[in-house]
């Protein structure tokens, strides 16, 4: 996490949510941007959807931090800008994992950030969709109660072990709420776009925010430990092909994990293409080789393929797990794999636009130990021999 020691403190007497909305409305009216991309309560009242808004009235239904994540915000920004940027300057209010996924999509050419001002809010997690949709009013209450105390118990399993719940540095503006005195929010800009909004509003960055930063650091360390523990525990259940087969054995091949994943952006997944359609004889030969063939076929291949394609950019948002009809702990499994892969490349998805995707860069002196296991000699030795 990135902590600047200076920021602005803004009064929010009516609570955090209202405070954030008031700030946004004020900035909108001052022409800091032309529209706001933000979760809005749907007319039926039992869910939220990203809306692009400008009208005063609709702000009544907007929520910078709704209890659920029905759609990952990165997908919303991608819908808006993947065909090219518009003319309007838009501020997008989202959770840190949504902003990080947005930055990954920008690197993948699926988002145009030029006219977007990414704004994140400290995130206490989200309630799983299935829990929320069972009774949305109760869900609202539970979230209201637990999010204020930063009690992550009712949240998505990956939210409970999230160590990137605050600013990561890639966003233009971060809004700090963790442990702030009631009735105030912090504004911390991370780019010139963010800074220019505050200067236009005459908000100076003189306040000492180290108290907030300490709390964020403390919780980050705590969560890191919990994450490592959870990963280690799950790793024991999924390591090796047999265990992996078992872990995914309930998969019905619906590919909904891919469909809701903010990183899986392909219009046509190879696993849904004609390449994955085989003749009856092919299937039958495979069945005969082992005496049986699970139908639907190729489920594990799909998951491993997806893992290979997106685990370096996985932001651990947990959408996949929420959308799985068979409650396979997809997001937790991907956290185990993603963390290890990202660490190997010293890469944090969404940390910075300036960090290129690991698989698009080549470093001659990289992974020598892997090379050695194939050739028996390290490239250093090779150099000496020559």
């Amino acid at each position: 996490m990135v902590v600047t020691q200076k920021g602005a403190i803004l009064a929010a007497e009516e609570g955090t949510e209202k405070g954030i909305l008031n700030f946004i409305k004020q900035a909108l009216s001052q022409g800091c941007f032309d529209a706001v991309l933000i979760p809005v309560r749907v007319p039926a009242g039992d869910s939220f959807a990203y809306f692009l808004i400008r009208n005063e009235a609709i702000f009544e239904r907007a929520s910078p931090l709704p209890p659920v994540m029905p759609v990952q915000g990165a997908r919303a920004i991608s819908s808006l800008t993947r065909r090219g940027k518009g003319k309007k300057r838009i501020v997008a209010i989202m959770r840190p994992c949504e902003a990080r996924a947005t930055i990954e999509l920008a690197k993948l050419g699926q988002v145009d950030l030029e006219n977007i001002i990414l704004t994140t809010v400290d995130c206490p997690g989200v309630i799983p969709l299935s829990d929320y949709f069972e009774n949305s009013e109760k869900g609202d209450e539970i979230f209201k109660d637990t999010s204020q105390k930063w009690n992550s118990k009712p949240m998505r399993p990956v939210c409970r072990i999230c160590d990137k719940f605050s600013a990561t540095g890639g966003e233009d503006l971060h809004i700090g709420t963790l442990g702030t005195k009631s009735g105030s929010i912090l504004l911390i800009p991370h780019s010139s776009k963010g800074e220019s909004i505050l200067s236009k509003l005459g908000i100076s960055l003189k306040e000492d925010i180290s108290g907030w930063a300490d709390k964020v650091n403390k919780l980050t360390e705590e969560r890191k430990r919990e994450r490592d523990q959870a990963n280690d525990a799950l790793r024991a259940d999924i390591e090796g092909v047999d265990r992996l087969v078992e872990a995914f054995s309930a998969c019905i091949n619906c590919h909904n994990c891919m469909r809701v994943c903010p990183i899986c952006y392909c219009r046509q997944c190879s696993f849904d293409s004609d390449k994955m359609k085989f003749t009856f004889e092919d299937y039958f030969t495979r069945a005969e080789a082992r005496g049986r063939l699970m139908v639907p076929t190729d489920t594990l291949l799909f998951h491993i393929g997806r893992m290979l394609h997106m685990s370096l950019s996985c932001v651990s948002c947990g959408m996949c797990e929420d959308a799985c009809p068979m409650a396979i702990p997809v997001a937790q499994i991907f956290a185990v794999v993603g963390d290890r892969n990202q660490e190997a490349f010293d890469y944090v998805p969404g940390r910075s636009m300036d960090e290129p995707l690991p698989l698009t860069t080549f470093d001659e002196e990289e992974f020598l130990e892997v090379e050695q296991s194939y050739t028996g000699v390290s490239s250093q030795q090779e150099g000496q021999n020559a």
Binding site: A44, F51, A250
Partner: protein, 368 residues
Amino acid sequence: MPKVLRINKGSEEGLKELLRFLLENGKVKGVLTLRKMGEYGAISYSLITNPDDIDSTLPLFPLMPVNLGKQLSLLTLMGPAADPIAVVLRPCELRAFVELVKRTQGSLENILFISSTCAGVYPLEMAVEGNIGEHLPQYWKAVEQGEVIPDIRLACQACEYFVPYTADITVSLLSNKGIDKETTLFLNTDKGEISVEGISGQLSEEGLDSAAIEQMRNKREAEKQKLSDKVETKTLGIDDLTKTFSRCIDCHNCSKVCPICYCHVCFFNTKDSEHGPFYYETELEKMGYVSMLSDTIFYHLVRLFHVSASCVGCGLCADVCPANIPLWAISLKMGAAVQQAFDYLPGKDIEEGLPFTTFAPEEFAGIE
């Protein structure tokens, strides 16, 4: 009157004996049925070629992880089964497959269809919770008594088409006293009769108990009425639809698991269905706001339009919906209306043309 074969074993064991017999005697080269996978107890369909693996099958387990009609289509899309196989499937899965074959998405050739008078399946959610096992004793008791089982899929509770139409062999389960001691197999076709030649059991000639079937149908119809009334789609007007679909997260999983939605690329997943920034900004100018999920109702309406004539009411769409939208009830209502208008029952008869592919000059004169 069809021939009936009785095997002196409980229905599941008797059916497994039949499957083993078919494989061991080379009558089929493979068997496609439900099987328990690994120790977590996940239950999935498997294509089995080794007779020893029949022991681990659960052909009558009340769960439908996928619609087997859709899977059969994937297996036979590139050409018919080269070797004969036996498939154990539920009436709605069989009907779905027949609908897919009508759309040239599969082939019936070389497949021995074994179905049953179907009491319904439990929701996927219960498989996830892992407590179907506890429910089994009461499930089978209710099957014998011919009762509507309360905690099965809502689509199953409301299903009137529990007797298979085109199965070669039908296992009689519903309202059949003694299913735990004896397996009753109706041999509906020559193929069915020939396949069991040589198995030990008692042959006779009789029909399904039509009074019991009628009684069951009445119970299901009453249940359907009751359940439909509960769902907030009484009028299917635009206000109700807006309300019902407002939770939709646009994942399209209802289409993905639907046996009738066979398109390799759905229009709603193509570039043509995407909006550019111009659209969003114009709407924003006009209305002051625009939803990023603006086309979800459009998607559902088009899907209903595309599948309703062939919807078999399997209920998978509702089971996989992350937003708990009662899709089964909406499909059922639309399906019933469209199917009634065309006097068409999906999957009943392979010879019957799809309503939208046939033209009758004297049709719908009222609308004209």
